[in-house]
Structure formats: C-alpha cells, structure tokens
C-alpha cells in the first residue's frame, strides 16, 4: 500500500538514477583518463560520505570513524588477494569478509556507543577511537598488513578504466538511490525524529539503540564495500584509508555539501576531491588552509551547508528537483480494542517510590495504585514532585529506590521504550515536539511500536485509534496533516501530543498538564476523550493537573502530593472539600492542619 507520495519518491529516484547512470555510461568517452581515474576514487569516497550524511546529517550521530569501515573493506580485499588467493570466488569471499567484519565492528561500536542514556558526545568518542585503534592494528601487522607502507601490486582485475568507472559509478548511484529512498521513507522520518528529540522518540516506544546500531551496521557495510572497490581498483591499500584524518575529512565534505541533504554531500565529496586533485598538487598548504577556513565558516554561519543554496538555484532551472510540499498520508481508524478489565494485577502500582537528586529528595516514599478504568488525578503545588513521579514511572533509570509495576511487571531499570512496550504512554508538559516533522509524520512515528515503519516507502494510510482521531478533530489537527509541527498553535501542539500518546495504544496513560493554556472548548473535548478512554477502553489514566475544576469533572480519585509525599488521597468530593487541600493551595500552614 505504497502512498502517492511514496510513488512520487520512487519516480524521482528512478528518474535521477537513470539520468545519473546514463551520464556515467557515456562520461568516460568525453573525459581524459586522469579525470576518469580521479572520479572513480571520488565515487567510492562519495558512497562513504553518503553514509556519514545518513548517520550525522539525518540521525544526528556525529561520527569520526566512518573511514574505519572503508579501511576494513579495503584491507579485506588487499589481504585476501595478497596472501590467500585471487579469482572470482576469492573476490566474492573477500568482499563478504570485508562486509562481515564491518558489520561486526559496527555492532560492537553500537553496543558501546548507543546504550540507553549514552550522551551523543560519548558516541562521538567511540567513533573517534575506532579509526585510531584500527590504524595502530594495521601498523602492528608487520608484513601481513604491510604496516605503514600498506600493500600494493596484489593481483586484481586489470579491467579498463572505463569498466572501473562504470562499476564505481553504478555502485554510487545504487547506494545513493537506496539512501534517498531510506531518508524519504517513513523510517527515514524516524531517523529525523531521533535527531530532533531523541528522548521524546524513546517515549513513543521507538527502539533508539537498536535503530542506531542497525544504521551503523548498514553504513559500515556500505562503507566496507566501497573500500573494497577502491582497493581493487587502485591496487593499493594504506593505513590512511582507515584513519581518523580521513574520517574528519568526510565530515568536512558532508558539512560543506550540506548535511541532511544526501545529494549535497555526495556531490560535495566528488567536487572537493576532484578539485583537490587538480589544486593540491600545486598549492598543498594553501589548499588545506582554504578548506579549513571554508569549513569553519560553513559550520559557524551556514550550518546547513552549501547544498540548500545551490539546490534552490537549481530548483528554478529543473523543476522536478524542487522539493514539493510533502503529500500527507490519510488517517484511518485503527482497531483498538478496549482492554479487558480482568487483570489480576492493577495496571499501575507504585510502591515506596523514592527519588533523590544529590542531596535533594524530591519524592519520599510514594505509594499509589491505579486500576483499569480509573482516572487518578495528582494535584499539588509547584515543586511537590508531580512531574518527577511521572518520570520515575516511565523511565526505569530515574528513581532512587522503590518499585513500579506495570500490569504486574516490575519495570526494573528499563529504558523508556521498554516501558512503553509494557503499555505506558506518557505526555509531556512542554510542547516541544519534532519541529521539522509534519503532523502526519509525528503520528506515523507514534505508530512505530504498533505498525512499524517501512524502510524504503511511505505509507498511504496511518491507522489511528478512535479516541486519538477525536482529539485530532476537536483541535482541528485533521485539517493540517501536512503542516510542520513547529508552526502549529499551542492548542494544536497539545492536541497532537495527546494524539501521539494515544496512537501508541497504551493501557496506562500518564498525562502531564494536558490542558495547560488551552481554550475552554479544547479542554472540554479533551475531558470527554479522557472520560471515554477510562469508561469505554478501560485505560488507567494518571493526570497531573492544576485546574481543580477540570480535575473535579473527570477524576475517579485524587491524590494530593506535597513536598514529595502523598498528603491525602480520596474521592473528588473528599479532596475538594478538604481543609487541608485548601490550605496547601492557599499556602497556609500545612503541618498544623495535618
């Protein structure tokens, strides 16, 4: 069920790929052998740069180590051909070894760098260490790896330069097309979501670590294959093919070309490498100086690189290249069955929860149980620990002590996405969503846990649970599916937030001030939906709210939190009529009343 927009992407990519292949097919006849040679190498490097752009430009993983995979592929070729054998089977075997080695290394890098809670800086450190370690291994390899001299003149296919040009060109077109489909697919939108707001993506149940590691592995394989081709063509491998300096150079090319545009870095790599070949021979230091200056200027002043500027210019000339406003998928109702209220264990049970930051104890032993079909409101003054309570329930690494059970399962130290998988949905107080994604894309994102996301296509339909659709209609979101969320009104953002959480089909819903700053009509609509979720769908809802009027209308029970502990728990009437609560809210003495 590929969507219209998916078909359009296919058509664009096919058109682009065919054009590029045609150019590549005839180009060698119009170029001198020197330029052809340079371009072959540039093509392989461009394929590598493309993977850097997917990792860094799209997903936000700043990698210094992509060169290592190139080196691994190149050395697989050289080592096998030099020491073991040469022939079609050996070649395939060597390629397979290179790719497998790259996959294994990438998996280790992923395990090290992308665990839950790892800072982006730490991931960069690991990718920085990777080429350094690899190059030292090559140096230490003595005659086997050729040490610093590298290996050369091993048997290889002495095909004509044109043949190599076609192979390299076809490879680049192939991987770039796949890359293009990937970033334009629903899955590609998930990558952007990770870049924009990794934490929020995790709370929508997206397995960040797995996706990043998988992406690293795929990039590693593409890079290794490129390295293999490079080595087979040039007949030379040297440690610098896998070193840190090449790794940083890839970043420079990506930045200059325009990160997050895919085509920019690819063309940038080709352009810069070819220019370097012509200029650096005569002006080696000046060339490096100019590249360095250009790099600093682009990073500081033009973080999106040169591609968008050129792209706009070209867009006027060649209309198909101009980016059309994204065509949106349609919403269709999902079949979300109400939850049977026959659980032995309550959907949410909080047991002696303690949370402490340094010497500041925010929660001091909170107990609460929420049953299916129940809406529990948590009220209390600022700083009472309400939001912290939500955080401790939805991220296993947050609490200091105590236990939290979801559907009877202890959450342990699980990452947000694993708690989402248990059926917990959490909405946030701030309305900071994924600014460059459209409303439809955000919803698709939220459905990842239920429906997955196609890698190379866009869906025509997004399935949404009925209550989520209600919210969308009430806030007018259903009319603006193709709008980027950054430009939505406050009310729409809040509505989208709630719709996204509902799209994950939770059984426990944690809502942090969902109605703050909303109009009366919007509040009423949300109140109705919440009521419906508990009454019809049997959800357990926990609501943080300041507006006692709103709380009174929809709550089954109310918990009053004050200075990190439960001050009072009771029915709506009990709490609202309580002297104690009135005192807390008007700031009068609490201890005396209690």
């Amino acid at each position: 069920m590929a969507s219209l927009s998916s078909k359009r992407v296919y058509r664009t990519v096919a058109l682009g790929a065919i054009t590029a292949l045609a150019v590549i097919a005839i180009a060698p006849f119009f170029m001198d052998i020197y330029t052809t040679n340079i371009l072959i190498r540039a093509f392989y490097l461009a394929a590598l740069v493309m993977t850097v752009d997917i990792l860094w430009g799209y997903t936000g993983i700043l990698t210094f180590g992509q060169s290592a995979f190139f080196g691994i592929g190149a050395y697989a070729c050289a080592l096998v051909f030099t020491h073991y054998g040469f022939g079609p089977l050996w070649a395939i075997g060597a390629l397979a070894i290179g790719i497998l080695a790259a996959l294994a290394v990438a998996a280790i890098v992923g395990w090290l760098a992308f665990y839950h809670g790892a800072s982006p800086l730490y991931a960069s450190i690991i990718t920085l260490a990777l080429p350094i370690v690899l190059v030292q291994l090559i140096f230490a390899g003595g005659r086997w790896t050729g040490s610093s001299s590298g290996l050369s003149a091993f048997p290889t296919y002495y095909w004509s330069t044109e043949t190599w040009f076609w192979i390299a060109g076809a490879y680049l077109v192939l991987v770039t097309s796949l890359g293009f489909l990937l970033v334009r697919s629903d899955f590609g939108r998930i990558l952007v979501a990770i870049r924009e707001n990794e934490e929020r993506a995790a709370y929508l149940g997206i397995p960040i670590s797995r996706i990043k590691t998988g992406l690293m592995m795929a990039s590693g394989a593409v890079g290794a294959a490129a390295g293999f081709g490079y080595a087979a063509f040039t007949n030379v491998v040297a440690p610098e093919l896998g070193d840190f300096l090449l790794g940083t150079e890839l970043l420079i090319w990506t930045a200059l070309g325009g990160r997050g545009t895919l085509i920019g870095p690819v063309l940038g790599a080709i352009g810069i490498d070819v220019t370097a070949s012509y200029l650096s021979g005569t002006l080696p230091f000046l060339w490096k100086l100019l590249t360095g200056i250009a790099f600093v200027v682009v990073i500081v002043l033009l973080p999106r690189g040169l591609a968008p500027i050129l792209g706009q210019a070209i867009g006027f000339v060649i209309p198909p290249l101009r980016r059309k406003p994204p065509q949106s998928a349609e919403l269709v109702p999902a079949d979300w069955r109400p939850i049977a209220a026959s659980f032995d264990a309550p959907p949410l049970k909080i047991d002696e929860l303690i949370c402490q930051y340094g010497s500041l104890r925010v929660l001091t032993g909170v107990n609460a149980t929420v049953k299916g079909g129940e809406l529990l409101s948590i009220v209390g003054p600022n700083g009472a620990g309400k939001t912290t309570l939500m955080r401790c329930v939805s991220d296993g690494s947050e609490r200091t002590a105590g236990r939290v059970y979801v559907q009877g399962v202890e959450i342990g130290r699980g990452a947000p996405q694993s708690i989402v998988a248990l059926g917990v949905g959490r909405s946030f107080q701030n309305t900071n969503l994924f600014d460059t994604l459209t409303v439809a894309e955000c919803l698709m994102l939220a459905r990842y846990g239920v429906d997955g996301a196609p890698m190379f296509a866009r869906r025509a339909e997004i399935r949404m649970p009925e209550p989520a659709l209600d919210i969308m209609r009430a806030t007018g979101l259903d009319k603006v599916l193709a709008t980027e969320t950054g430009s939505l009104s406050h009310g729409m953002k809040r509505g989208l937030e709630l719709a996204m959480v509902l799209a994950t089909e939770p059984s426990v819903l944690l809502l942090d001030e969902p109605t703050a700053g909303l109009t009366k009509a919007e509040r009423t609509a949300i109140g109705h939906t919440l009521k419906r979720l508990t009454d019809e769908y049997g959800l357990a809802v926990v609501l943080i709210e300041h507006d006692l009027d709103f709380v009174r209308e929809i709550s089954s029970r109310i918990v009053v939190l004050h200075q990190g502990s439960v001050l009072m728990e009771g029915t709506v009437e009990e709490v609202v009529n309580s002297e104690l609560v009135r005192a807390v809210y008007s700031g009068e003495q609490v201890e005396a009343v209690a």
């Binding site: 730490y122 450190i125 690991i126 230490a140 990073i299």
Partner: protein, 278 residues
Amino acid sequence: MSILVLDIVTTAAILFAVASGLMIILGVMKLINFAHGAFLTVGGYTAFLTTEAGITPWLSAPLAAIFGFLAGIVIERLVVRPLYSRPLDAILATWGLGIVIGQVITLTFGREVQFAASPMSGTFDFGAIDYSAYRIVVTLIAIAIGIALTALFYGTRFGLQARAVIMNETLARGLGIDSGRVRTLTFGLGAGLACAAGALITPLLSVDPNMGLPWLVNSFMLVLVSGVSIPSLALASLILGGAQVAVSTYISPIIGGLTIVVLAAFILRINPRGLGLG
C-alpha cells in the same frame, strides 16, 4: 621499580598539564575544544621563537600563556560564541580552526622540525638511579599548575563566578554575572594553559606543525573520564597515564599508545560519569 614509579608520576604530570586547558574549557563552557592540539603547537612555536630571540627558555611557557590567552579571547569572539547552543558543531568548528592554525603555522615556519632550547638538561641522581631532570621539573610545574588552578577556582571571585556559571548559568546571570565574559575569559585561560603546556613539553619533543595532534585525543579522553574537576583530572591522569606506562613497559609500547583511548572508552561505558570526584 622506582623508575617505573617515576615514569608513572612524571607521565601523569605531563598529561595533567596538557589536558588542564581542555578541561577548563569543557567545564565552564560545556564545549569540546578540538583546536586544543593546535594550541599546544602554538605553544611549541612560542618556545621556538623565544629561543630564536635569545630569551631564557624558562620564560617560554609564561610567554606562551600570555599569547594563548589573548588569541583565545579573539577566537572565542569569532568562532566559538555562535556555537554555544550547538555543542557538536563546536567540536567541528574548533577542529576546522585547528586545521587553519596548523596551515598558518606551516605557511609561516615551514613543515620542518624546529628546535627550542631546553631550560635544563641532564639528570637528577636518586642514589641508585638517575632520572631526567627536566621531567622532574615538569612534574613540579604541573603540580604548581594544579594548585594554581585550584586556588583560582576556589579562592577567587572569578573562580566562584565560573563555578556558578558551570552549575546554573541562568541563575548566575540573574545574579549579575556576565556569563559571556566568564566564558571569554575561560576560553582565554584554557587556550593560555594549552599554549603554556605546549611550550612546557617542547624540550621533550620536537616543534613541528603537527606536534599537538597526538596529544589531543588522549587529553580529550582524560578530561571526559575525569568528569571535569581538578582533583579527578589529576587522578585520571595518574590512573590512565600509569596504565599507559605499565602497559608500555610490560606488554608493548604500541598497545601502550592505545591504552588511554581504549580504557577511557570502557570506563565511560561502565560509568558515564567517569571517575568524577565531584
């Protein structure tokens, strides 16, 4: 055995001196300065120019510190300031800056190895063993740097303001602290320290346009593992530097060269806060 201890202590001291400038910048500005290696190189060339001018080599590190401080202030205004909200881009921009500095040095002084005079040569005798006098002196200077930094951060108003900015920048600004000025001064201080360290290690090294680069990654790792505090940087230098010396001595200097990087990566994987003491 006593040589091993001396090797470990002096190596740790050198690492501490080299990494301290990077740490200060990271601590206050939350920014990884990848031009750190280039700053070390600038320090080396300051020492070279000091020698050329016939000034006593003891003055090369202070002169480098002054030059680095001034250059750091200019660089902070031009390159670093727009990037506070983009920490990963700051890494890249400072890396690019490092390339630019390296090439300017190359175009000015040429690629070749230059020589700076050493303030002292020969060895100290410790009974059974004799040991490089300059390494002992560098160790003492590194300890002095550590004490001076501690005094600066815990004994002066600037230090108090810098720590306030580290802990809660918004609050600090609300109390009338010009956090922009604190950052500028900090970057200058970090750059000055890096240049001084470059001048300091020059008698043990050669002066060439790439001299700082090998130190960059190790310093970076030490600073991250230390979790940004002066005593824990000293501790990290001692532990990781000690591991490097031990591995170099008992296993292989080649693996020794990787020790800090690999060990740091694993320490951070196990505990993202590193060895932080506070």
